[in-house]
Amino acid sequence: MIRIDCPVCGLRDETEFTYGADASVTRPAMEDTGMQHWVDYVFNRDNPRGWHREYWHHVQGCRQWLVLERNTLTHQIGTCHLARDADLAVKEAAK
């Protein structure tokens, strides 16, 4: 059973959450006309063996969108932040 430490609600079972999307992709700049960049953004995803950054929704809880790290091999859960704080958390960790 995956358990996710929601920043609002605390440690909860995965059954309260819904997977949203890959949080590691970045949308190209709107003025970017490179077709391949947009094809990669819309359709192509890596399928890593190991840590992966993902959006999850705490749909049966605080209803907040989260960005968390999940190990696709072990299903371990790493850091978990509110999506709106996630970029800030990444910058803080990089310092």
Partner: protein
Amino acid sequence: MAEALSPLHHTITPGRYGVAGDVGITLGTRQIAGLWQIAGWQGFDRAAAPVLAAMGLHDGGSYRRAEQAGAVTAWRIAPDKILIEGAPDLSAHSSDDLVTLDLGHARTAITLGGAAARDLLMQLCAVDCSAAAFAPGAFIQTGIHHVGVLIHCTGPDSFDILVPGTWAETIWEALHHNALPHGYEVSADNNSRISRTNPT
């Protein structure tokens, strides 16, 4: 003016149900009066502070603990969102920085009590509801029967469950079926009317 009734007004029948012996659980419903949600964006706490202060509230509590001020109860359900019961009409406080929303018609309050109440909750939701983990004054947002609910611990073995009105019967049925092995009672003094008028 038409009288607003709880979605459970024809579902709840006072009586004794389930196994014979001691009653482990009491179920019922209660009136919801003046249920409002205030929400915002960055700067929410600053925008909400005067509204909360006007009701005698300090900061709306934490994500796990409700704040009480007289007949007013506040639950901080998300970073920029507070649910308030017992509030007067808050619509005049809406601004570019704060959104107020009357939810009085949208929730039903189910009351749960008794020595087996915590066991029943833990049958239905994947959260530790033991006395050590879920003390009076605390609240959790979780799912019962895949429906999002807010459970407020109002006493050592008593709880209010705020459920979406459109799912009230579903939740009641889930509680009913799981309470049968404990033996439960529905008291005759349930108030299944919804108050759409706010307390003054």
